[in-house]
Symmetry: C2
Subunit: 416 residues, 2 copies
Amino acid sequence: MAIAKHIKELMNSKGSSVIRKMFEEGIQLKAKFGEDKVYDFSLGNPDMPPPEKIYQVVNEIAKDNSKDRHAYMPNAGYTETRKAMADKVNFEQNLTDDSALNENHVVMSVGAAGALNSVFKAILNSEDEVIVPCPFFAEYRSYVSNFGGNLIPVKSKKDFSLDVEAIKNALTSKTTAVLINSPNNPSGKIYSESDIKELASVLYEHGKNTGITPYLICDEPYRAITYNGKKVTSVFPLYDNAVVVTSFAKNLSLPGERIGFIAVNPKCEDAKEFIAACTYTTRTLGYVNAPAFFQKVVAKCWNADVDYSMYTNRCKMITEVVKNAGIEFVEPEGAFYLFCKAPMPILQENKQFIINNGDEEICDEFAFCDHLKKYNILCAPGSGFGCPGYFRMAFCVSENTIKNCAEPLQLAKQSW
Amino acid sequence: MAIAKHIKELMNSKGSSVIRKMFEEGIQLKAKFGEDKVYDFSLGNPDMPPPEKIYQVVNEIAKDNSKDRHAYMPNAGYTETRKAMADKVNFEQNLTDDSALNENHVVMSVGAAGALNSVFKAILNSEDEVIVPCPFFAEYRSYVSNFGGNLIPVKSKKDFSLDVEAIKNALTSKTTAVLINSPNNPSGKIYSESDIKELASVLYEHGKNTGITPYLICDEPYRAITYNGKKVTSVFPLYDNAVVVTSFAKNLSLPGERIGFIAVNPKCEDAKEFIAACTYTTRTLGYVNAPAFFQKVVAKCWNADVDYSMYTNRCKMITEVVKNAGIEFVEPEGAFYLFCKAPMPILQENKQFIINNGDEEICDEFAFCDHLKKYNILCAPGSGFGCPGYFRMAFCVSENTIKNCAEPLQLAKQSW
């Protein structure tokens, strides 16, 4: 008896595991040095409290002792909750009448991560391919490989916008889906309407040629969090075989409660079968159903008024701090991450960390993140996100953490 | 784009899906004929309300608006919750001092189903085998096949006690685990201490011969629900490489909330690595962590006083009703299921439903369950549980449902 070989290898590999490890190290560092002496940008754990309405509704539902309050319900979730989620998607994507979703287009899930696993289990045959533009949420690798699929990372443009030509070139007869995440974790990029239109036409064209029109899976937990009035493109009106997966982890600050959903475009060729399959995989993967209590909560709170100006301020602050340290980054349009270029080493002893990445020299960002750790600054290396030479700072942390990080970050940069 | 081929096949297959389908049909039948005219024994959805303490604590935690109340925590769960679960297992298994568990032996999970998926993902290499005595919870098939493993059903004795000799004969160099469920769903059987001891010695012997001592995975959501003062055998003192997976779905009537845990025997050879692997798979399978709110609830409620006499009464009532209809069954020792033999058809036109099952003739229980449905009686066919010719009645339903079912059951039997 022993752990499975491939799991052992994955656990020991660099990359995605590093983020969670840092989060757990951060807890230990804070216990050792004090909360205010550790600058933990490792994890997208929203530090904004949930809106007041969440507390009200949680208390209401806590008082509800009606029969079946905590019982099983159909695997797809409560009808009233699925109706509310359909309303949410219709509102966000401006869908009415024939193009609108109803409860039968929705499966409630254990967060967006649970949603993606249910979807990939439902659609992936062995060796099927899922194309994802770089950078991408590190965990996608697991979600796709869990079910025998291959994640195909594809380069993006310099500003991290979609390189539709690159996606086109990556399409094969094995392509089951293209997975996009907008606003993007880790880059903060919002994919433009014109890029999505171009992508849609490439995918339709591929469908005509091969008979397989890929799903376009839109992972949208950050949809509500945008800067400078930017809006997230609504994909359903632009592409039929589109699916939204999302959660209330980020917009309502409920990541620990594991509540999200899958919604399919009513115009999707096999919408009904897709929902039936996701309901089945939600059951058989052992989620069984999304947690009952928070299904009731989000049914009433999905349209709660939330003020994200807190993140706007933090975004301004951290871009200042990082700019002042002479570190390059791409200005985020949404979400709460800053994706930075690991700076080239200054000290002779660190020149070893200049490495070759195809046709350019970059800095080994693992080494730089280790270096930052000496200053109690915790960041996530970019390789996990498909972008070696970069690192991610999650700025869903207190203003003090950002402010007080300025000096140690300068020092770290100067002693690199 | 289309659903994965194997998922399509599984969705269209008879067997396990049938239970959930019945549950959902039951909801529709009740809407049509009225709650009191449908006798729905399809699903183990506890009809006993959660104990009063649950409501108290849910209300307490609802009032807690401290920072991070709904945030991410380490993937294994809150330390305080894992400590409480260690206390629970130590109490149940009478473990003290060196043999006792602490928080590092526990991973919180999305119910027992989530726990089993995390465990199998952690330990199964492709084509590894998991032995399970018949009958067994139908969903085990999916939980093992999800990760490329093979479930190896093994016959039990006539009274559904363990046939250790049969298990011994099924052991191979591919056997990674033996999975037991006691009290058993669907038979209600509790595996005796002497049988577990015999099993342990067979597994140790196999370990000596092959170098691989299988895990013994004990799925125990029904541990607290037993009849006639029967106690569930504690496995940790009897076998080192033992694991408990369980939930609060049945003992605290919280199935919809998806809260459970994995606990490893501290004496297990690779306890530390096992927990690390299950923590990793809990993350990468998209559970991420057990729902935060109910982690807090069960930390305070695991030892709540619960009176299961309601199930004792129901057990007496249903055995009366089924006996009076002339249907054979095995007396349950725990859980809330009655596992019955589908009676041989009386009518000439139904003789076609007598089928051959190895060396004996049995009744096609799918046909009998379909027949029962005409009388609005919903039961789960036994083939899904590895026992063709049987059907399961979940008696976690109102006394009226049981009482009022007597007449239609008699009628159904007579017109079969």
